[in-house]
């Protein structure tokens, strides 16, 4: 099929310029600080991984022990990198889809500062031993309060921009965007209230942990995929009806999923059952999104060669399908008996937050950054290198962790097998994980270098899109 023509009337170009200029400063601030947290979080993650093979290395420094590095990694990449970069992308997207400049920009600057201070304070507290013991909520309350307040400022800007929109029809990406900025503050405040104890605290922990993905990270990824796939290809998204089915079943089912983390635990049986059911019902929204994206892209896969945005986005969207079906299966009791408390779960988590979300964020940033930084990506070859290092790295990561996790799960179920033997069994897979971590770290260094050049307009002054084709 022939690609549709570019839309380049002077009025349209001028309108885009006004919108992107309004978004430029806040978006670049969100991106730049996000990339810094990506680098910090990557270092924490790599050190955590190396600890499995070299447990005595750096063990004399309390801040660099496993129990502190791991939560530092989790929080830095989620509240630092993915949240900040995601917020930047959503700002730009909302302005473009509402055809109106970004509003409340002063509040956004305050939001970036507050958000980063919160993540800095929280991560520092975790490393110095003042972190909490509830996974995903390790930050002390003052840090959480700063992040919560920053999020409210960001949400206010999105909602005000949305209110001032000059379009009639709301495109599907906007549904996810507006929904997530309303959902997430409720979730974050409710989970951080210091009122829970005992079994209820465990249930709230995973209600929050999984809902952070359900009402914040996944909507970011889906909003961006729904936007950039048709935008780069230049044809409408396949089916409005599939979009509707996907969004409403997503809103209905996903927020019940969290308790599947406690299958087999001391939580009432019906609560586990309902979470398992909701996890399996996620097949419906995931299928709707996957079919919708696939039928939009089919016949246009050659754009993957010419557009870095589309290549990263399609990789991420395919991983969304994979991680969701894996999650539906993983929640079932029979599967839990084997893979619970194994490396399999770690593989699943990275397939979600990295292979799906982070890859889509990279794709979106390759599109947005030139429009807000007003500079072309200086080194097309390095973008390819970035893609192959990260895509290759995370593929090795997920395969190693999931295979090793299943073997580990079966071995641990053999009750008379000595535990040390089970650890030896997982060793080659953990070494493969550390190797993949080195590839991923390399990819991030390449990306950070490219992004820094965009910020200061360094590198060769290029006239065109990074790869062959015009519309990247």
């Amino acid at each position: 099929m022939k690609a549709p023509p570019l839309e380049q009337s002077p009025e349209l170009v001028s309108l885009r310029r006004v919108l992107d200029e309004s978004a430029a400063v806040p978006v670049l601030l969100f991106f730049a600080t996000g990339v810094l947290w990506l680098l910090a979080g990557t270092v924490f993650g790599l050190l955590t991984s190396l600890k499995f093979d070299m447990p005595d290395w750096l063990a004399a420094i309390p801040a660099l022990t496993f129990g502190r590095l791991r939560p530092a990694h989790l929080n830095a990449v989620n509240y630092g990198w993915a949240s900040l970069a995601g917020a930047g992308c959503l700002l730009w997207l909302t302005s473009r889809l509402c055809m109106t400049p970004v509003r409340l920009r002063g509040g956004l600057i305050a939001s970036v500062i507050l958000w980063n201070l919160g993540v800095l304070y929280g991560t520092g507290a975790v490393l110095l031993g003042y972190g909490g013991s509830v996974e995903w909520l390790e930050y002390p309350l003052p840090a959480a309060a700063m992040i919560g307040a920053a999020f409210l400022l960001f949400a206010a800007s999105i909602l005000q921009t949305f209110r001032m929109r000059s379009v009639q029809h709301l495109y599907v990406s906007l549904w996810y965007t507006v929904a997530c900025v309303v959902w997430f503050p409720f979730l974050y405040v409710a989970a951080n209230l210091p009122i829970y104890s005992g079994v209820v605290h465990g249930a709230v922990n995973w209600w929050y942990g999984h809902n952070a993905l359900a009402v914040w990270f996944t909507p970011i990824g889906l909003a961006l995929a729904y936007y950039f796939i048709p935008k780069v290809i230049g044809r409408p998204i396949y089916s409005y009806y599939l979009s509707l089915l996907g969004f409403w079943s997503f809103a209905l089912f996903y927020n019940w999923n969290g308790i599947h983390h406690l299958v087999g635990g001391p939580v009432p049986n019906w609560l586990q059952t309902i979470s398992i059911i909701a996890s399996v019902l996620m097949v419906i929204p995931v299928m709707a999104v996957a079919v919708n994206h696939h039928l939009t892209t089919v016949g246009h896969f050659r754009h993957l060669r010419s557009s870095p945005t589309l290549r990263f986005t399609v990789f991420g969207a395919m991983c969304y399908t994979a991680v969701s079906f894996q999650g539906s299966l993983e929640s079932l009791r029979g599967m839990q008996e084997v893979v619970h408390f194994t490396h399999y779960t770690v593989g699943h988590a990275h397939l979600g937050v990295y292979a799906f979300l982070t890859m889509i964020l990279f794709g979106a940033m390759y599109y947005i950054t030139p429009r807000v930084a007003r500079w072309n990506w200086p080194h097309p070859g390095l973008i390819k290198l970035h893609f192959w290092l990260t895509a290759g790295g995370i593929s090795i990561y997920v395969i190693a962790m999931c295979t090793g996790g299943i073997l580990q799960g079966y071995a641990m179920n053999e009750s008379v097998r000595p535990f040390a033997q089970v650890i030896d069994l997982t060793r080659p897979w953990l070494i493969a994980r550390s190797a993949s971590g080195i590839l991923i770290t390399g990819g991030h260094l390449v990306f950070a270098y490219l992004f820094a050049q965009m910020l200061i307009h360094a590198g060769p002054r290029r006239e065109t899109a990074p790869w062959e084709e015009a519309a990247a």
Partner: protein
């Protein structure tokens, strides 16, 4: 006020010369010109099988809910659920698994292969004490053992706690049977009734010594 014909000067770095500003604006215009139409909704119908799969998944999860709801009781956890579903009040407790008792209680000292630890914990594999009458093993498990003991030609002097308060008669029988038929041992199985009888016959008994055990009635 910036508008379509007037670029927002504030969004440009302040120290640039006029030529550089114009250059950046030109690059930006070029970037913004290589875009396709904003995404629209297509109106194709969803493939029929999407609806079929959706309905099937919802139905099967309805059955799953009926099967595993645990009657929506706050008491029902995983083990309770299995017993209740199996056969109502008639569902008897399954017999204890000796290998699980061994892994949970004996393994840290006597090791996975029943080898023990030289100079510390006596071996069970090929031990003459394991092969002796089951009345001896039952007493050691119920009340413990202390002081010197000869096993396979080596002397050990340590203390094993009694497990009578911790393990049921059935569990003691199961783990003894497991030890007596594994690690190369080939002694006959132990009956729960014998454990119960010895427990009744020796109330308030403290830890045994090797010497006291050799005088035990069969």
């Amino acid at each position: 006020m910036p508008g379509p014909d007037k670029p927002d000067r504030r969004s440009l770095p302040p120290l640039l010369g006029e030529a550089e500003r114009q250059d950046i604006l030109q690059i930006h215009r070029a970037i913004l010109s290589r875009e396709r139409v904003e995404p629209q909704e297509g109106m194709e119908p969803a493939p029929w099988w999407v609806w079929v799969v959706s309905v099937l998944v919802i139905f099967s999860m309805g059955f799953y809910l009926g099967r595993y709801s645990g009657t929506f009781s706050t008491e029902a956890h995983e083990l309770y659920q299995k017993a209740a579903v199996g056969g109502g009040e008639a569902a008897a407790e399954p017999p204890p698994d000796g290998s699980l008792v061994y892994a949970g209680i004996c393994l840290p000292c006597h090791q996975a292969g029943g080898t023990g630890v030289e100079g510390k914990y006596p071996p069970l594999a090929g031990s003459e004490w394991v092969a002796k009458d089951s009345a001896i093993g039952i007493r050691i498990l119920l009340h413990g053992l202390q002081g010197p003991i000869q096993v396979k030609g080596k002397t050990f002097n340590n203390e094993m706690p009694g497990l009578g308060n911790q393990l049921s008669d059935a569990e003691i029988a199961a783990v003894l049977t497991y030890v007596r038929s594994n690690f190369g041992n080939k002694a006959p199985a132990v009956d729960t009734k014998q454990v119960a009888a010895i427990r009744q016959a020796t109330p308030g008994q403290g830890p045994w010594t090797a010497q006291a055990l050799s005088g035990v009635p069969k």
